[in-house]
Amino acid sequence: MSQAAATAHDDHHYTSTGLSSWKVGFWTFIGSECLFFATLISTYMVYKGRSITGPYPGEILDIPLTSVSTFVLLMSSLAMVLGLDGIQRGSKRLTLIWLGAVILLGATFLGFQVYEFNHFVHEGLTISTNVFGSSFFVLTGFHGAHVAGGVIWLSTLWILAARGKLTSADSLKVEIAGLYWHFVDIVWIVIFTLVYLIQ
């Protein structure tokens, strides 16, 4: 690492291991989030097939639509890592393009989720209809809230980058936001498989 880059990192805090305390703390947070989503996924699995009234998952889940939204979220992860690469290279243009793409793709995923929820309610499935509805809306709703939080977080970073207040010296901020975004993506990989494909 060059002297300039090392100096740029001096405003960061380090643990006794020499690792950035921001990253250690954030990975610990992600570890705890694994347990949070595991409780929600476990609840869904425990109540799977125990609804005594419909609509049932096989009648209402739209696999083609959700496949597209899954693809959108996967591509947002690709855009995120390209945005991090952009800021680490010191390219404001690439940072703005790829972070903007992540925000747009994240918002598109949320749009799909709003459409799906609205469709389910019109089909008679609400959070209080049956145990499938309760566990499904709580699980996917919390995931959607995490996506919404990520979109807001990344939007603030995009505004900072556009104003020239986010430079390559601040790449750790983008990297940590990226860790959060990728985590949201891997949670969806699990949800898509266990909830939508394995019915």
Partner: protein, 119 residues
């Protein structure tokens, strides 16, 4: 630890060992390739879902495919393959605990009720 030593460790921490010293772990082309693989795996998952004669092995196939996607994102997009093993340890601790909890709850609610434990 001095700030110089910490900065040195930081360089290693951010992947300076194999892919450049400023946290750039791989080239954009490599990331595009990973994105392409993730897309193909997702397409295969959906295709498998609609193939009737694979219904009996659907669950293991889907678990393997989604596990592959999970691993690709964690290793290359989240850079765990290049970062300090401490990060991997912290993440895996939460992940393993979460997996144990899920399996325990499924056994408790779906397997044990099938046995007459009082009899």
């Amino acid at each position: 630890m001095s700030s110089e030593a910490m900065a040195g460790n930081m360089a290693h921490d951010q992947g300076g060992d194999s892919h450049g010293e400023h946290g750039s772990h791989a080239s954009p082309g490599f990331y595009w390739a990973i994105g392409g693989i993730l897309t193909v795996i997702t397409a295969v998952e959906v295709a498998v879902f609609y193939i009737p004669f694979l219904a009996s092995v659907l669950v293991p196939i889907l678990l393997v495919l989604s596990g592959a996607k999970f691993a690709l994102v964690v290793m290359f997009f989240m850079h765990l393959k290049y970062d300090s093993r401490i990060f991997s340890g912290v993440f895996l601790a939460g992940l393993v605990l979460a997996a144990f909890m899920t399996v325990a709850l499924i056994i408790l609610y779906h397997v044990l009720p099938n046995y007459d434990l009082m009899g």
